[in-house]
């Protein structure tokens, strides 16, 4: 069913920073199906996610974007009724291999959620949560991690004087950047983001968008968004999902300027959704 386009068209229309060369693949998904109980939510997903690029996932509400991205770090299994088939390889390791501990996978693959979800602790404690859990105790290292991660999330200057205040005192946009910092603190290779700006105001949104652009130097990023403009602005590749299928997957500029599929075109021109 899935019309996943594995071979990419020539990226002629790229106005964003163009894909200079074919990059390495970090995630490779093959024939992936997922059910919630008896309802199938993903159908035969086929997709390669490139390293050090931003990959956007778009599609109307309920099409399976969140389900898909949560499959990548197996968070989707928190729903007890979930059943899956197919293959997801992360750095050429099968993520469902029982020998590959899910905790290890999640240590390598960070995630940022739709609504900022800081812990009800201080800013400092939020950032060091991951490293501490992983056994890093030394104060000096932790301090360094905090500064580095908060800088990485473009939040350091705003909060450096109140690291011990409760994270709930931050604004929504700051909280979201804190969650990004928390995720950076464990130095993942991949960052998954599920509509990270949908709960934010325009200014916070543009800050996060800038941040994503900076981060892609060091991280591979997959980002779900319902805002097509956003996908166009920040991503290198875009996948369009509809009713659990990948309708089209292509370089972002190609996809938006010259969609292959009628349904993609309908969606990006706002005919539905």
């Amino acid at each position: 069913m899935a019309t996943a386009t594995k071979t990419q068209q020539a990226p002629i229309l790229n106005t964003n920073e163009p894909d200079k060369e074919e990059t390495k693949t970090i995630y490779s998904i093959e024939d992936f199906n997922l059910w919630y109980g008896n309802d199938q939510a993903l159908y035969e997903v086929q997709m390669d996610i490139p390293e050090n690029r931003v990959t956007a996932i778009i599609g109307p509400s309920g099409c399976g974007k969140s389900t898909f991205i949560k499959s990548l770090n197996r968070m989707v299994e928190l729903v007890p009724s979930v059943k899956m088939s197919g293959k997801i390889q992360y750095k050429e390791k099968d993520i469902f291999d029982p020998k590959y501990k899910v905790e290890d996978l999640r240590t390598d693959v960070g995630m940022v959620f739709q609504n900022p979800n800081p812990f009800p602790k201080s800013i400092y404690e939020n950032v060091v949560y991951g490293p501490k859990t992983h056994g890093i105790k030394k104060k000096s290292i932790l301090n360094e991690i905090v500064e580095k991660s908060l800088r990485g999330a473009a939040l350091w200057d705003e909060v450096k004087d109140r690291l011990n205040e409760n994270a709930f005192g931050l604004s929504g946009g700051q909280q979201q950047r804190l969650c990004i910092a928390r995720c950076l603190a464990i130095e993942p290779d991949v960052i998954l983001m599920d509509e990270p700006t949908s709960a934010l105001d325009p200014i916070s949104t543009s800050k996060i968008e800038e941040l994503v652009q900076t981060l892609k130097k060091d991280y591979s990023i997959a980002i779900v968004t319902h805002n097509m403009q956003q996908a166009a602005r920040i991503s290198d590749k875009t996948a369009f999902f509809l009713n659990g299928e990948v309708i089209e997957y292509n370089n972002t500029d190609n996809l938006f300027s010259n969609p292959d599929d009628r349904r993609t075109e309908d969606y990006i021109t706002g005919r539905f959704g």
Binding site: N73, M75, E103, G110, F119, P120, Y129, G130, R182, I186
Partner: protein, 311 residues
């Protein structure tokens, strides 16, 4: 809408006159409901007045200072002595034993149910725990006396048939479901997004439970402990049946003791005649008990309010 067979609008307008009747119900309803709400206040006033009036009669015969500082409680016969401390120590002894049982087990159950168990297990276990909470205390009392104590006597030589240990433990068992379900509720109300946040950094389930969920739910958990304490203090039948009726200022759980509630029941079932000092003494003890539990309840409310996390 003119093209219609029935003119609803007109009919509704016509009925509008009937609204006056409605307005009466409309006005009477809040008054009736408020009256219902006032009953609970009257109940409290009733309790306080009842206790207060009879307690005052008691203090017209027994000095208040002796009551609160006395170390002997012997309310019968000629040289009666009304020092409440032994009853309080008995009550506290039971409470401490109960909480030593109920807090770890209740909290562990809560963590299991909220963080580890599948929906199915939770659906089965919670009602079972509720049954445990719903067993009449009289049943527990005889269980403590005729099963638990003889069982302990096998291990603890010289354990008297009445002791603080086995009723204490059984009170604890009775409280487990309360702590478990209140704590579980507190933990379940920690939004999943927090668990997700923690799991997504590679935490284990245990780490999520102990480092994120329990701290976030701490106020609810502590409030459940305090309510458990309050329940243990007020528990009556288990201790009347199995703890004995010898008020003693002791911290030894293997001794027979008496609690405040146990004393009240003893006197009501016993022979004290209306108007005697003994009779009034149950109100003084009841007042003390009331104040204790009131403080506990206020404390638990304060905790849940003061430390409430708004996620």
């Amino acid at each position: 809408m003119s093209n219609m067979a029935v003119n609803v609008k007109a009919m509704m307008n016509e009925k509008k006159s009937k609204r006056s009747v409605l307005t009466i119900t409309e006005k009477a309803a809040p008054i009736f409901f408020m009256a219902c709400a006032v009953v609970s206040i009257l109940t409290t006033i009733g309790i306080v007045l009842t206790l207060l009036i009879e307690t005052l009669s008691f203090f017209s015969r027994v000095s208040f200072i002796d009551f609160v500082t006395g170390t002997t409680w012997w309310p019968f016969g000629e040289n009666a002595s009304y020092g409440i401390l032994p009853l309080i120590s008995g009550t506290l002894l039971i409470t401490v034993v109960a909480m030593i049982v109920a807090i770890p087990i209740g909290l562990a159950s809560a963590i299991y149910l909220s963080e580890f168990a599948s929906e199915k297990v939770r659906k089965i276990v919670k009602p079972i725990l509720e049954v445990l909470a719903g067993i009449p205390t009289i049943v527990y009392g005889f269980f403590a006396l005729t099963f638990v104590t003889p069982l302990f006597q096998l291990f603890i030589s010289g354990l008297p048939i009445f002791n603080a240990l086995s009723p204490g433990i059984i009170v604890g068992v009775m409280i487990i479901p309360m702590i478990a379900s209140l704590s579980e509720e507190a933990m379940s109300s920690v939004p999943n997004s927090m668990r997700e946040g923690a799991l997504a950094t590679g935490s284990t389930r245990l780490e999520v439970a102990l480092k994120i969920v329990v701290p976030a739910a701490l106020s609810g958990i502590i409030a459940s402990f305090v309510l458990g304490v309050s329940r243990a203090i007020g528990e009556t039948m288990i201790v009347s049946v199995a703890a004995g009726s010898t008020p003693k200022l002791t911290a030894d759980v293997t001794e027979s003791i008496q609690t405040m509630t146990g004393y009240i029941v003893q006197v009501t079932l016993g022979d004290a005649s209306y108007g005697s000092t003994t009779y009034y003494s149950i109100y003084a003890v009841g007042m003390t008990l009331f104040i204790f539990t009131l403080l506990m309840n206020l404390l638990s409310q304060y905790i849940s309010r003061r430390f409430k996390e708004d996620y």
